[in-house]
């Protein structure tokens, strides 16, 4: 196990280097400069002032020098200072926003697993029946709907027309004055629509995967044996088949992280949720290079970590890998 872990960690190093190279290249492909944004809106700015801003941001140095400087700082976890006029460290800005995005995405992941797995199993056990067909259409519908469209419709319906739910943000104004449970309830009300829509949109992948896995497992000999022994169907499915069908689903967990983080841009814009997606979008629009690069790197590293965790979980859960590696050691 230790050997496996060490190997996985070592393998991450070239990936990390690759991530920084791609990030840097992508950002520096673009024409235009952050200075333009700041200066352009104001006519009272002289050409000399622009040069001054360029120097200040070190944009006058050659690219490889900029890259080297950036990476050497990255190693020390220094993401540089934002190009935005407040000039705050990028890491501070990300730290402010990251928890919101991560916790919301975690909730979505949990909801997704809680719903998609039963749906997948149901589809598999009722294979080709109407239940299978209609759950298929249902989960695909979630995938196929433009989520911002659905969100705005629900927002209008429940927020404006029926006035049941708040429209946007995370809290009501003045929530600080209330007790803990009131605040939890308040936040839950704010999150019903965004989390619901996000979960609806994410069901397809996992539930289809579950269905396939389940069908495959149900065709295996040992299930036949279990059935032949006269075990009740419920026991066969949930005790024997599910265990094995669930295993591959763990890897899906790691794979779905980038999609979730990416999707947060839209949700955070619509629902005015102060997360990393919105931060990234603002950074991109303002050509805040250090911020954009910082978020890209952190987003990628998070995915890397997610994958690592998923693989480790898989290794722990699957005795073949666990034992195989230990013997090799």
């Amino acid at each position: 196990m230790l050997y496996y872990l060490a190997k996985r960690l070592l393998l991450m190093i070239p990936l990390l280097v690759g991530i920084t190279v791609i990030t840097f290249t992508v950002i520096h492909l673009a024409p235009g400069e952050p200075v333009e944004m700041q200066v352009a809106m104001n006519p009272k700015v002289s050409a000399e002032a622009r040069e001054r801003l360029r120097k200040f941001y070190e944009l006058d140095k050659p690219l490889h020098v900029q890259y080297a400087k950036w990476v050497s700082r990255l190693v020390r976890l220094d993401f540089g200072r934002s190009f935005a006029p407040d000039g705050r460290p990028v890491i501070t800005k990300i730290r402010e926003r990251l928890p919101v995005t991560i916790s919301l995405n975690l909730i979505v992941l949990i909801l997704e697993f809680a719903l998609a797995i039963p749906i997948g199993i149901m589809a598999a056990t009722h294979r080709d029946g109407p239940l299978d067909r209609w759950t298929t259409v249902f989960v695909f519908l979630g995938f196929a709907t433009p989520l911002f469209w659905l969100s705005l419709i629900l927002m209008y319906l429940f927020g404006v027309k029926l006035d049941w739910l708040p429209i946007s943000g995370l809290h009501s104004l003045g929530y600080e004055a209330h007790g803990f449970w009131w605040r939890v309830g308040d936040m839950a009300k704010h999150l019903v629509i965004p989390l619901g829509v996000a979960t609806f949109g994410s069901l397809a992948g996992l539930s289809r995967y579950m269905r396939t896995g389940m069908i495959e497992v149900l065709g295996q000999d040992y299930i036949m044996t279990a059935r032949a022994k006269g075990l009740p169907e419920r026991v066969v499915i949930y005790r024997h088949a599910l265990r094995n069908a669930l295993l591959p689903a763990i890897t899906i967990l790691g794979l779905s992280i980038p999609a979730l983080i990416g999707g947060s841009v839209i949700f955070e814009s619509i629902f005015a949720i102060p997360g990393m997606g919105k931060l990234f979008m603002d950074g991109v629009m303002a050509r805040d290079y250090p911020l954009v690069m910082g978020v890209l790197v952190i987003g990628a590293v998070l995915t890397l970590l997610g994958n690592l965790l998923a693989d480790l979980a898989y290794a722990i859960a699957d005795p073949r890998i666990r034992h195989g590696r230990e013997r090799a050691l």
């Binding site: 024409p31 235009g32 400069e33 952050p34 333009e36 944004m37 700041q38 200066v39 352009a40 809106m41 104001n42 006519p43 009272k44 700015v45 002289s46 050409a47 002032a49 622009r50 001054r52 801003l53 200040f56 935005a84 006029p85 407040d86 000039g87 705050r88 800005k93 402010e96 926003r97 705005l152 927002m155 209008y156 927020g159 404006v160 006035d163 708040p166 429209i167 946007s168 943000g169 995370l170 809290h171 104004l173 003045g174 955070e268 814009s269 619509i270 629902f271 005015a272 949720i273 102060p274 997360g275 919105k278 931060l279 979008m281 603002d282 050509r287």
Partner: protein, 539 residues
């Protein structure tokens, strides 16, 4: 409070934020005035998050809005757009017009309790012109030859030659010297936790969510009635409007469609008051005068004649705007109401074009001269729906007189860098904000046609140059008026731009707020006197 007071002309990037100047207004639902009372909060919506609360470093409207409540300048514009003392009680201009002496208000304190003195003003001046400060606001202060603070309540500036916009330029937010002096202003904590002298003090800023200000009980003009001013950051315009309707916002700027079509129900009007007045901005179609297509004045006159400005106002603004004939807002003192502009007249357009040698030789509907068809591209920046629609309408109208127009929208930064700065464009649709001071030097003087300067259309007219210089070199308003009246006549004849329209600002405020006095300066000028009667307070 008057966020436009500082910068003379600012390119309008997003015109969504409510502008604060204005003329007539449309009040609604009759509610009893009630008794002024302290308390409650005003929740305003903002598309963007402020970038920094050090106004010196900010150029976005969200930052400037918030900073306007926290800081004061030496002078400000009153509700009738006349300069009045703010932190300066009074001032004197020397007879030669070169020296201004400000007498500062005594007993004003910073939000942290320190007294406000001339040292703060001197510091603000020095840090602004410091080459190490990445600010966009140094230009006006560079005209200053000498600045001095002879005593704590006197501040004196001397100019090399008379400079009419000088007084206005001291409307810039004064920064606290005791917290900033000797420090790197770009790394200052004050960007997130500002300390000012204004009616509201900073309370908290939750990144990406909201920014809360609370009333300054020691404000020199008295404690504001509204206890808290909350800026909620709501990035999506559709969401913001729904928040307003659901009661989550008290104030925002409406789009013309929302004003005309979506906010006309009794229910809405009983809950909100809508206001309408001309914004301090205009939209124009500018021609690259160095380009052979547009070097002939008759061609430009023809294009203006082929465009119906009323149709554009109808189509783009739902009629919520006025036709622009020049670079000033109708009704202001520099605006010349008697300018003869080219009205919509396609026949005259065709005649002018024919006179300039453009004819439809092969009956394909496109005019030709020297074997080349009359075709050009209008550029505009991406993300501004109004400008794009304007371009579409112009495209359709010019086609009718035989001119083919292509439209390209380009992302803002590259628009400036690759097209405007290099003079690599044929025609553009952009907007300028109209400053309170009518000085036109930056946009129309021939010395400002260099790369990265604002006269990017390359307009050169010796008479206009002379008039601009004369206008900024005197404090005599009558003399200035004469200069600017003449300039407008020349511009109308030359048509270096086709001035299109001045849009209306359309703010909406919850009806529970009383004491709002629409004036030429808009509605925010007396914000500290707004109140909510006790029985109607919600927060």
């Amino acid at each position: 409070m008057n966020r436009c007071r500082l910068v003379c002309l600012v390119l309008l990037v997003f015109s969504l934020a409510a502008c604060n100047e204005g003329k007539q207004a449309v009040p609604a639902g009759p509610r009893l005035p009630g008794i002024p009372a302290y308390g409650d909060a005003l929740v305003a919506g903002s598309i963007g998050e402020p970038s920094t609360l050090l106004p010196l470093l900010a150029s976005d409207s969200a930052s400037r809005d918030v900073a306007g409540q926290i800081y004061n300048g030496l002078v400000r514009y009153d509700k009738n757009l006349k300069l009045e003392g703010d932190l300066a009680e009074k001032w004197e201009i020397s007879r030669d017009g070169l020296t201004i002496t400000f007498h500062l208000r005594k007993g004003v304190t910073w939000h942290d309790g320190q007294p406000f003195t001339s040292r703060d003003v001197l510091y603000t001046y020095r840090v602004t012109i410091d080459p190490k400060t990445p600010t966009a606001y140094a230009e006006n202060f560079k005209q200053v030859k000498r600045a001095e603070a002879p005593d704590p309540y006197t501040f004196r500036v001397t100019y090399a030659k008379p400079f009419a916009p000088a007084l206005e330029s001291w409307g810039v937010e004064i920064l606290p010297a005791h917290l900033l002096e000797g420090k790197d202003v770009t790394r200052s904590e004050l960007a997130r936790q500002p300390v000012g002298t204004g009616p509201y003090r900073f309370k908290e800023w939750i990144a990406g969510q909201k920014l809360v200000l609370e009333s300054n009980h020691d404000y020199y003009e008295g404690r504001p009635y509204i206890d808290r001013y909350v800026y909620r950051i709501i990035p999506d315009t559709a969401t913001m409007y729904m928040e307003l309707k659901a009661g989550g916002l008290d104030m925002m700027g409406l789009t013309p469609v929302q004003y005309q079509r979506q906010t006309t129900t009794k229910e809405f009007l009983s809950r909100f008051n809508k206001y309408r007045y001309p914004a301090s901005a205009y939209t124009y179609l500018g021609y690259n005068l160095r380009h052979p297509l547009f070097s002939d004045r008759r061609v430009r006159q023809a294009i203006t004649s082929a465009i119906s400005k009323d149709e554009i106002i109808q189509g783009v603004q739902f009629g919520m705007g006025q036709v622009a004939h020049g670079p000033y807002k109708p009704g202001t003192w520099a605006y010349n109401p008697n300018v003869r502009d080219f009205t919509y007249n396609p026949d005259r357009a065709r005649a002018l074009l024919a006179e300039a040698g453009w004819r439809d030789k092969n009956d394909d509907g496109i005019l030709v001269k020297d074997g080349k068809p009359f075709s050009f591209t209008i550029l505009t920046n991406q993300g501004n729906d109004q400008r794009l629609k304007t371009a579409l309408i112009i495209q359709q109208r010019l086609k009718a007189v035989g001119i083919e127009v292509k439209i390209r929208t380009i992302e803002w930064a590259s628009f400036l860098k690759n097209f405007i700065d290099k003079g690599d464009f044929q025609a553009i649709i952009l907007g300028w904000t109209i400053g309170q001071d009518p000085d036109l030097f930056d946009v129309w003087h021939s010395s400002k046609t260099g790369p990265r300067e604002l006269n990017f259309v390359g307009y050169k007219n010796a008479e206009v140059d002379r008039l601009i210089e004369q206008g900024r070199g005197t404090f005599d308003q009558e003399e200035r008026r004469r200069c600017y009246y003449r300039i407008q006549e020349i511009l109308a004849e030359d048509q270096p731009y086709t001035f299109l329209y001045v849009p209306d600002a359309l703010p909406v405020v919850s009806a529970r707020f009383r004491g709002i006095e629409p004036a030429p300066a808009g509605i925010m000028h007396n914000f500290i006197r707004w109140y909510v009667p006790k029985g109607e307070q919600v927060y």
